[in-house]
Amino acid sequence: MSGRSRRRRPGPPAPTFTFQFDGRPVPAAPGQTVAAALWAAGVRSWRTTRVTGAPRGLFCGIGVCFDCLVTIDGTRNVRACLAPARAGMRVTTQVGVGDDV
């Protein structure tokens, strides 16, 4: 057991690019999802619900709950927990069902 406690714990991956969230840059590392990068940047919600306007962000993290829907590059209802972060993406808070129906 003692060998294990000496193993360096893996830190979060170093960010190598940024994308935009509501106009501000968010750092991201290769392989991270949009949700993870937002989370690492301290963002906890990126949409509001259509009935009560409540803030929502991540819930199940694996793409089944659809709570994490966000608008990316003008496309509504993208699951942030599945979408790989890409340099230059424009991610915007989705209000209700979003624009451009």
């Binding site: 259509r50 009935v51 209802n77 209700g96 069902v97 129906v101």
Partner: protein, 379 residues
Amino acid sequence: MTGVVVVGAGIVGAACAWYLARAGVEVTVLERDTVAGGTSSAGEGNILVSDKPPGPVLELALWSRRLWQDVAGELGPAAIEWEPKGGLVVAESPSDLDRVHRLVERQRAAGVVATELSADQLSQVEPRLASGLAGGAFFPQDAQVQPMLATAYLLKGVEVRTGTEVRELRTGPSGEVTGVRTADGTVVPAAAVVNATGVAGADLAAQAGTRLPIEPRRGFILVTEPLRGAREPAPIRHKVYTAGYADAVASDDPGVQTAAVIECTRAGTVLIGSSRERRGFDDAYPVPVLRRLAAQAVALFPFLARVRVLRAFHGFRPYTPDHLPVIGPDPRMPGLWHACGHEGAGIGLAPATGAMIAAMITGGAPAVDPAPFSPARFR
């Protein structure tokens, strides 16, 4: 008199109970599953006069539409998502448009309000419709309701026993109905029994020796993602369907008939129908049928191409070969009444059916002649 038992807590049974209760009759509704557990929870909530050619069903539908106005007011329009939004029949070709015009003329003579629309007018009234349509007609009397809520609210204040299957009709010395026996052996006495069992209507009738040729006619509906919040305008403003819909309803072909029927709901989703086929109670979802519904929807409303379908549901309409519901006294068993076989028009025709049944049971005269709907007609 002892009360009346209504068998079936779908929209028709609920409407019968509503009108009977108003006439001062003690009503008990017996339902083998749950409130609106059958076809009433499998439709779009259509209340249409536009799809009916002149005849007894149209007459019933016009009366029923007037009754719906009052019923919705009493139940609370918001509670049942009542939307008197009007219906738009769309013709995809000049020959379709011609047929629409001719039908509209005949319907007008029978009391239907309709406005013919040119292609330009169509796009003003429903801006997201595809271009290149020939024209259409607008029917302000068409409306929509959430059918499960409507059923449940109609039954408020009525005694309902769910999970209670009626196994046997009990009769007296002259063969008259005296009550029913349920699956657990309980006998519920009744001076009259109303068979409002929808697609299972033939079973209860058979106990009286009466043949009601009611068969399931399967349909599917696609439901999209929500496209608006509560206070935003709906991307589709009316109930919209193509000229082929009335043909599909009237067809006797057991093979699959599809015709686009599309509308928004209060919840913000878009409902996409319609399909009709007679395949018994087969509840598999054939992808080719779903494909046709999707393709027809996108052809009418191109913006739907990128809209996501979240779910699909199915139902079995109670089909009769002459396309008329069965409303009236059983020819053999005094005290047994039938109120079933409404095919895809059950929601729309429910109040009139209920009012008609209540009138006949209490010795009154219904506003519409019940003769065409007589259960005796199948002998």
